[in-house]
């Protein structure tokens, strides 16, 4: 398995310049994403007030309420107002949910972060465990059984996995709560849903890479130098196989931090995903822009951090 993602290149001229470049890239990404979102809002000519009150009260009252919230302004004015607000730390007001967009997102950030981290850890635990097991057992029925299970895990959509887990562990054996947020017990089933469906990718990725590296010349060389098999595996094989896993982790974490909608919806998990989903179905434009912005920042930031971690695993990267 080869790595297709463009790797971070830290130029010899120094780390500060690298970081500055990446921050500029982050800002550019934010501007592009927000602008693209505004274009999409413009293409869909509906507004949050009509979406809630259309067909229910007089048309001119709807117009008056739109004017009160500034939804009657041309889209370019709304666009400028958004940036003006953002510089004051104000993401705007959500008409559909009657709350400040920034506060709404902040209130859900904790739940999203908890689920993202727990889900990622379980994915890794399950994925790395299965991947290493299958690679060590390669060619045997145990390998095929493990990888067969993995394919099943990849094929099951998260919402179905969630429902099965709820049925088994909350209804048949009432060990965990069906849904909700608040205690560690509430976190188990949603995180496991992510772990079981997401872990499968890591297992496949890692097994493929491990099998490739196990036969590489430098590994055979270490072995022939008399290194113990376990040490060879941990210090050479595993370490050299981990880069694609790290890349995938970066993408996963960024994605999880913008909210795993399917899982949040099943477990009534109060995260950013359901907030964004509701915003889209409500035409709640300020909330759409706010959640898109936060997701973009999360994805870009996590990728920046991953880029900084690469050289620790693979010193060659620091010199390129």
């Amino acid at each position: 398995m080869t790595l297709t993602r463009p790797r971070a290149v830290v130029p010899a001229s120094g780390f500060p310049r690298f970081l500055a470049g990446r921050l500029v890239w982050l800002l550019a990404a934010v501007v592009v994403v927000v602008s693209a979102t505004f274009v999409l809002i413009y293409v869909i000519p509906a507004d949050p007030v009509s979406a809630v009150l259309g067909g229910r009260i007089q048309a001119d009252q709807i117009e008056a309420i739109k004017a009160r919230y500034g939804f009657d302004l041309p889209i370019w004015q709304q666009y400028l107002r958004f940036w003006g607000g953002l510089f004051r730390g104000d993401l705007g007001f959500s008409f559909a949910t009657q709350q400040d967009v920034g506060q709404a997102i902040a209130a859900r950030a904790g739940a999203t972060a908890a689920l993202a981290v727990a889900g990622l850890l379980l994915s890794l635990l399950i994925g790395v465990g299965t991947g290493v097991f299958a690679a060590l057992m390669r060619g045997t029925w145990k390998d095929r059984a493990a990888m067969g299970t993995v394919v099943l895990g990849m094929g099951v959509p998260p919402f179905l996995m969630g429902l099965v887990l709820v049925f088994v562990f909350a209804y048949l054996l009432p060990v965990f709560p069906v849904s909700g947020y608040g205690s560690a017990a509430h976190l188990v089933l949603p995180a496991l849903t992510i772990g079981l469906t997401g872990g499968a990718y890591y297992a496949r990725l890692l097994r493929g890479r491990l099998v490739e590296v196990m036969d590489a010349d430098f590994v055979r060389a270490s072995r022939s130098r008399g290194m113990r098999e376990s040490a060879v595996f941990v210090r050479h094989t595993l370490r050299n196989s981990f880069l694609p896993v790290l890349t995938w982790m970066g993408m996963d974490l960024g994605y999880f931090l913008s909210g795993v909608i399917a899982v949040e919806a099943i477990f009534a998990w109060p995260g950013i995903g359901t907030l964004a989903y509701r915003a889209i179905t409500d035409y709640d434009t300020p909330m759409i822009v706010g959640t898109v912005l936060v997701s973009a920042v999360a994805i870009v930031t996590v990728n920046l951090i991953i880029d900084l971690v690469y050289p620790l695993l693979d010193p060659r990267m620091a010199h390129r």
Partner: protein, 533 residues
């Protein structure tokens, strides 16, 4: 026990009706009570929806905000367990003979739930805030009949001249014209009394800091997640509420609500279509089904000002074409066929109204008369939920039989409401009207007056004779029910839309929960209790 039997009998009738294919008997909406009231306990429920706001002035037209606002805030007058209006903050009130002056005598020693006194200043403040253009309340127009409201709302007056407090325990409201249902409007969530001090302290996020004098106080509100209400220790009606706490989980999916109810975690649940057999017909819960005949009318709307729907014959033909009994069957019997606009629970409903029977031949004849012997094609806009889709598919099959070929345009709820009123869109659409206050005037005025065209008059219906009669009905006190029946018959003859059905809501409760569905405010936590068997 008697009431349980009544519910079971109604269910039995429903199933018989289903088997025989006719409309079910009308369901009683009496409270289901188990034994004498018991104090204490937590009432736990879960909703598919969010709770948009606890600010009375911002309560839109969603059931969740209405019920929760009503639990936290009091009003001058409020509903009893049915459609009757009774004193709330006002101990008594009188209406002058000309119907223009409402004088309210307040109870003594009224307090907000934090112990601060509730004064006439708070009452005047709440009304002025509600009608303030800057508040932009979706409910403000309902109060435009108060003297001086129009001047205040267009900015030419500093306050509403028609609301005054002659002394500390009296409030007087003057109206421009008599309005027999004005007390009903006061009992809506909008005119709930807020603490002036609290609103001034939290001008931006009063919903997060709701402070009222209702039966419950907000213990915690986590937007998008849960609302926890606790008994208001300072509540002015001794002995109420019975419950210590009410927990409302928000944004909970259909499957999860049903599972949590079956596990015993929830006190009640609604009945999603997929769970109908298990919850309503299964033996475990069937005795605990609670139902309410909603004040709703479902219809297939048409743009009356556009061809071919500008022809009354075409609109009448479509009324004959649709098999309404079949629709009620599709709803598992949770509805009754609509033969008029006024729904069954409201005064003026005529049980003998004829409406349009299912008659394909008549439909074809009328279409031919209108010059559409070969039919025509059109489009039906609908919300894409499972039940609406089933109904609209059945309608579309019926219309095909008379040569009317429709495509179904299924969209999410927001898209539906954002586009249904546009004159050049949605030639046909499937939706409903639910009463804002229990008077048929709401149905006639909202749906049929020309000034509401493009808003709640989604049909662009215009009929000068009907219009004059609706305006007369607004202030009519004598013979109101008869006038409603006569007007309804006249409107039905003009067929502004295809009359479909009035819905019935079913919930299921745990055996020890005393629960009913309020016909206007849905959930009235103050009246519920848990017997703790």
């Amino acid at each position: 026990m008697l009431r349980k039997t009544v519910t079971a009998a109604a269910l039995l009738l429903t199933s018989v009706a289903l088997l025989t294919g006719c409309a079910p008997a009308q369901a009683p909406s009496a409270p289901v009570l188990t034994g004498p009231p018991v104090t204490g306990g937590t009432f736990h429920m879960a909703l598919a929806s969010d709770l948009p706001t606890l600010d009375p002035a911002q309560a839109g037209y969603d059931a969740t905000s209405w019920s929760m606002v009503v639990a936290v805030f009091s009003s001058l007058v409020d509903y009893d367990e049915g459609l009757g209006v009774t004193g709330d903050l006002a101990e008594t009130w009188t209406v002058s003979e000309d119907g223009l002056t409402y004088a309210f005598q307040l109870r003594d020693g009224l307090n907000f739930s934090d112990g601060s006194p509730l004064t006439t200043d708070d009452i005047l403040f709440s009304f002025n805030r509600l009608l303030d253009p800057d508040t932009a309340s979706p409910g403000s127009y309902l109060f435009s009949n108060i003297a001086g409201a129009a001047d205040y709302m267009d900015g030419s007056a500093d306050s509403i001249s028609g609301i005054t407090a002659p002394d500390k325990s009296n409030v007087v409201i003057e109206l421009v014209e008599p309005q027999p249902y004005f007390a009903n409007i006061l009992a809506m969530p909008y005119a709930r009394i807020m603490s002036e001090a609290q609103v001034k302290k939290y001008p931006e996020d009063i919903s997060q800091h709701a402070l009222g004098s209702g039966p419950f106080t907000v213990e915690s509100l986590t937007p998008g997640q849960e609302l926890v209400l606790a008994r208001n220790p300072a509540y002015f009606i001794p002995g109420k509420p019975y419950l210590d706490k009410v927990q409302v989980d928000l944004n909970v999916s259909d499957q999860t609500r049903v599972l949590e109810f079956q596990r015993g975690d929830l006190s009640i649940t609604d009945v999603p279509a997929a769970a109908y057999q298990e919850l309503v017909q299964g033996k475990d819960f069937a005795p605990y089904v609670v139902q309410n005949e909603d004040a709703t009318t479902y219809f297939l709307g048409m743009k009356n000002n556009q061809a071919p729907f500008d022809s009354a014959e075409v609109r009448q033909a479509l009324n004959y074409a649709v098999d309404k009994d079949r629709l009620v069957q599709l709803l598992n019997g949770r509805g009754t066929v609509a033969s008029q606009l006024t729904p069954p629970p409201l005064p003026g409903f005529d049980p003998d109204a004829k409406g349009y029977e299912h008659d394909v031949k008549k439909a074809k004849d009328l279409l031919a008369q209108a010059g559409y012997a070969d039919g025509f094609s059109s489009e039906i806009l609908t919300v894409n939920d499972e039940q609406s889709m089933r109904v609209v598919q059945s309608i579309s099959a019926d219309l095909a039989k008379v040569g009317v070929d429709v495509t179904i345009n299924a969209v999410d709820q927001s898209t539906f409401y954002a586009t249904v009123g546009a004159e050049d869109q949605a030639p046909m659409f499937f939706t409903y009207w639910l009463n804002y206050y229990p008077d048929a005037y709401d149905f006639f005025a909202s749906l049929l007056l020309p000034e509401n065209a493009g808003g709640s008059n989604m049909f662009y219906y215009s009929n000068p004779d009907v219009e004059a009669k609706i305006r007369e009905l607004s202030s009519l006190t004598e013979g109101r029910a008869e006038a409603i029946q006569a007007l309804d018959a006249e409107v039905t003859a003009t067929a502004p839309f295809v009359y479909l059905y009035h819905s019935i809501t079913q919930n299921v409760r745990q055996s020890d929960v005393s629960y009913y569905i309020h016909p206007v405010h849905l959930w009235r936590f103050a009246d519920y209790w848990i017997s703790g068997e």
